[in-house]
Symmetry: C2
């Protein structure tokens, strides 16, 4: 039996054992507090950082966190930032999850937009909420942080909207099973889950027996007969495609951990690979048969031609959102497409439920390998960024992104804020094993600051290279205080602040000269000093106004390897935007028009 087959079966065995455990009385194992049980599970999931804000209903649990051997408490400046950080951590730390801890009502609701973003973008995040004791809940006591009307389920109902699973601990006997259920949902479905910890149960002792059985992130095994059928169908399509087969990789390849399988498929078949915006860096962008970003009608012409004319498109983990498809302008007919998803496969018009890509892809690779020799003759566009020759010293988007792409190094983690940054980075190739972190579907401005905090922690643990953030001035204002947490925890990201005096993405969409798109101008290079590095020993800040200044900085070894947190304010022009954003906005305006523009 192949190892591909063993892993899902072993996972199934573990799940069944846990179900048995739930039904059996707790036994002779060493008792453990419920709070510690939860931490033990998180440790098994390789969680080393917990984000959040202390509040009076989570303080008892925080004692356990602070005393834990391998899990560190990261006290954030506010809960939304903490949720963003948990999201960023989970995106970079493969095979783990992000964890955010808040307090009842005020804390959890402040975090909910960050959790909703993790839902939308399929990021495994656990939201733990410290809640009042179960007797207080039953008595509907009018405690602070309540709505004053005795509704103790209101926040749970809100959480149900943005998490796939909720664990409401109300007594000790089912606590372990509840914790295991939500964590299993989190890791197998790559979405946020919600868990409440009442103050009076945190230290209740339960059996630790279940901890001996690890939680499985592997999906249940595909039905072998259906899977074999699907493989043959795809092989037939590939054969009739006369070698003109391409791979299009997208967000869910990253979220559902099939990047290795996709790489194997690509390398063994030689099929050209393209990426949707949300799949950027799922395949290392220095790969010789990688052709760049496909984003419908606004793709670069040679990419568009190659992808849309291919006889067969193996579309892996696609998310067909507006920004990820240039406003739904994919030029790929269903009859030439195979879609691979975590929980189903779609061959042309036919859907095969419960045939997940994690197990399907290796088997398909084995059969498609034979096409390799011929496929390798198909040419692939060269994804390069050429720095344009411009006559003046103004830092334009057209110049900026190709120029910074030369500054990137292998294994850099590059975080791009929704807005001009995201659309700008998209269009330039990133180095080998670089990790691109963005939030194109949810698109919450300010997200990237918190996310960078989490990503930088994860990057350090994963032995990745620098963490680099690109963010606009408007977006940075939403979540700026989290720079303080970066300083406090000795993280050393490089933060490019694109200063164009406001919300440029919105100016492109609507209200080009409206005052509501303007913001207050801050002293961006003074932020780090005020937010925790008063002595200026841990940080460095710069303002660059010209191409020469920025180029000089990017080439300077004291900058590129500073080993400090650095802020670079980049002075740009209002109304300048990356090409992709401008075209996207034009497309979007047609379907979302206000009457008088």
């Amino acid at each position: 039996m192949s190892s591909d087959a063993i892993s899902p079966l072993q996972a199934e065995v573990n799940r069944l054992r846990l179900e048995l455990q739930t039904l059996q009385a707790s036994n002779a194992s060493e008792p453990i507090e419920i709070g510690s049980y939860l931490l033990a599970r998180l440790e098994q999931l390789k969680v080393t950082k917990m984000f959040g804000v202390p509040g009076d209903f989570n303080l008892g649990f925080l004692d356990l966190v602070e005393d834990h051997r391998t899990i560190d408490w990261v006290g954030n400046c506010n809960e939304l930032n903490a949720a963003y950080a948990a999201d960023g951590y989970a995106r970079v730390k493969n095979h783990s999850i992000g964890v955010v801890l808040t307090t009842f009502g005020v804390g959890e609701l402040s975090a909910i937009n960050g959790v909703a973003g993790a839902f939308s973008e399929m990021v495994p995040v656990l939201h733990i909420v410290g809640v009042p004791s179960t007797p207080q809940q039953k008595a509907k006591a009018m405690l602070h942080h309540t709505l004053g009307d005795g509704r103790y389920d209101a926040y749970i109902k809100a959480a149900e909207q943005v998490t796939i699973s909720q664990g409401i601990i109300t007594e000790k006997d089912s606590a372990a099973a509840t914790i295991d259920r939500v964590l299993t949902d989190c890791i197998t479905r790559a979405r946020p889950v919600y868990l409440t910890l009442p103050t009076n149960l945190v230290y209740e002792k339960i059996s630790s027996e279940r901890l001996k059985i690890p939680l499985s992130r592997t999906q249940p095994p595909n039905d072998p007969e259906v899977e074999a059928f699907v493989v043959e169908e795809i092989v037939k399509l590939a054969a009739s495609a006369q070698d003109d087969v391409i791979i299009l990789v997208d967000a869910c390849a990253v979220r559902h951990n099939v990047c290795e399988e996709v790489n194997e498929l690509a390398k063994k078949t030689g099929f050209p690979v393209y990426s949707a915006p949300m799949g950027k860096t799922a395949i290392s962008e220095d790969y010789e048969r990688y052709g760049g970003i496909y984003v419908g009608s606004i793709s670069h012409p040679d990419v568009k031609e190659k992808v849309e004319s291919a006889k067969l498109i193996l579309s892996i983990g696609c998310v067909k959102s507006d920004f990820n498809t240039a406003n739904f302008t994919y030029g790929i007919p269903t009859s030439r497409t195979v879609e691979f998803h975590s929980d189903h496969t779609k061959v042309q018009h036919g859907v095969f439920p419960a045939i997940g890509m994690k197990q399907l892809l290796p088997r398909l690779t084995a059969r498609l390998e034979a096409f390799g020799t011929a496929a390798r003759k198909m040419s692939v566009p060269n994804f390069r960024a050429i720095v344009p020759q411009e006559d003046d010293e103004i830092i334009t988007h057209a110049w900026l992104w190709p120029r910074v792409s030369q500054f990137f190094q292998p294994k850099d983690v590059i975080v791009a804020e929704t807005g001009t940054s995201n659309f700008g980075v998209l269009e330039v190739p990133l180095p080998a094993q670089a990790v691109f972190v963005s939030q194109l579907l949810w698109g919450s401005i300010g997200w990237a600051v918190g996310s960078t905090l989490g990503a930088a922690f994860a990057a350090r643990e994963m032995s990745l290279n620098r963490t680099i953030l690109f963010i606009g001035d408007g977006s940075l204002q939403l979540t700026v205080q989290e720079l303080s947490s970066m300083i406090r925890h000795g993280l050393k990201p490089i933060i490019f602040v694109l200063n164009n005096g406001g919300y440029e993405i919105e100016r492109v969409i609507h209200g080009r000269d409206r005052k509501y798109n303007d913001i207050a101008n801050w002293n961006w290079t003074g932020l780090l000093s005020v937010l925790g590095d008063a002595s200026l020993t841990m940080s460095q800040s710069y303002t660059v106004r010209t191409k020469s200044e920025l180029s000089g900085l990017l080439d300077s070894p004291s900058f590129t390897g500073a080993g400090k947190i650095q802020v670079v304010e980049v002075i740009m022009q209002m109304h300048d935007a990356p090409r992709a954003l401008t075209v996207q906005a034009e497309l979007g305006a047609k379907t979302n028009a206000y009457a008088p523009l």
Copy 2:
């Protein structure tokens, strides 16, 4: 017929006319865009400021806001701060509401904690959300800011938990009625409401006929027979109380606009008046027959004795939450209490539904006036703050609050953050017509910064005096960026930052020496310069470390009347806290204990 009786009847007539309007076809009146209709209603409600953050689904409506004659757009740094600002504005600007505008999903969820706080604390706030066009909603398009699964009702369901009324505009014919319905709920019930504005309907034209009928904030008339019965019951109780009748005023007196009625009652009867913490300044604290704050077991002994021994307590607008009652330690038997609420009255154990205090109180005053002469002989404790003599220069809480009380001026608006500030200000009297703004029930740290922004706008419009904020360093970190909006809009609050190195309220509750209650130390006096006043022409910042330094500052005319935004960092000791907080925390710890402390 008395004017007391006319006003509710007129309100009822208007409501019925509007209902008729809804059923009649729209007529010959000048058509108006739906967005402008909404703004016209807000103008009628004396709204002059709209808080929020632009986002791509609200930009069209923002054009109308920006062009409006009397309503100004206040672009906030983030949505939570905007919601807090709307809350602060509504708290200070009587007979108006707070308005916050966000965008679909990302924006509205970021604001939800602020809206929930308005629910809990009974503050009239309208949350307008710009949402995708109705065709896009029907098509369940996978737009950015969606959860990616076509659920376009998810955010509405979350909003239902924290607003009393939701207006989901889906077509133009019912738009005006929907707008009027949620606004009427908002003003009559003093709670937040939720309204969605789809991009394609903002500029749709509708009849403006309904605008001729103003919305009524007056409650429906009480049943005259029941009301008369209630009045007589209370008069009997007062008569048998042998002049030992007191008035206890609380939050809902402020929220439901009966402060004038309560003042009339107090002045015409001479009954001693006390206030619960959430009712502070409902009666001007310089009033000669005002005895101070009653807060259950932690009241000052003479207040406790007077209130708890009174033969009859007229309890007006009480909110019996944990922090407002010293953990439910009211020593007032129901048999000696009459509770006045916005929508019912409770005489001893008997509940009288639909007998609201707004109309009941004037009638009761007329009948109770006769008790005045005798009641005025009952003594009232003198609510004074005496600055203690302490041997050292350390700024303690015991010294700070009495000392700053000497600095307050009539008509100052004093905002206290949940935590040490709130408990500290409670215990000192505020000058004539000062307005106290706090959030004792909801208790969301960071709220006070946004709230101060809104309060300062309202104070300016209401010709009040200075706006003064007290906030801890830990709380300020959550929402610090909103200082920038104060600078940008030329507001001039005085902001005292109590720097004790972390979350002191939590240290008092649990984790006295835990690291999770520490925060990064910022350069607090550098904030204003970085957040918008680079030239230091609009602001001034100070650090005070000793009693002498602070006293000197408080006495300095250049400080007290600076006409600039000012930050005062007050260096205090870790583990020092106001008496009321310490006792409250001890009481709370008993019912909310974690096993190992």
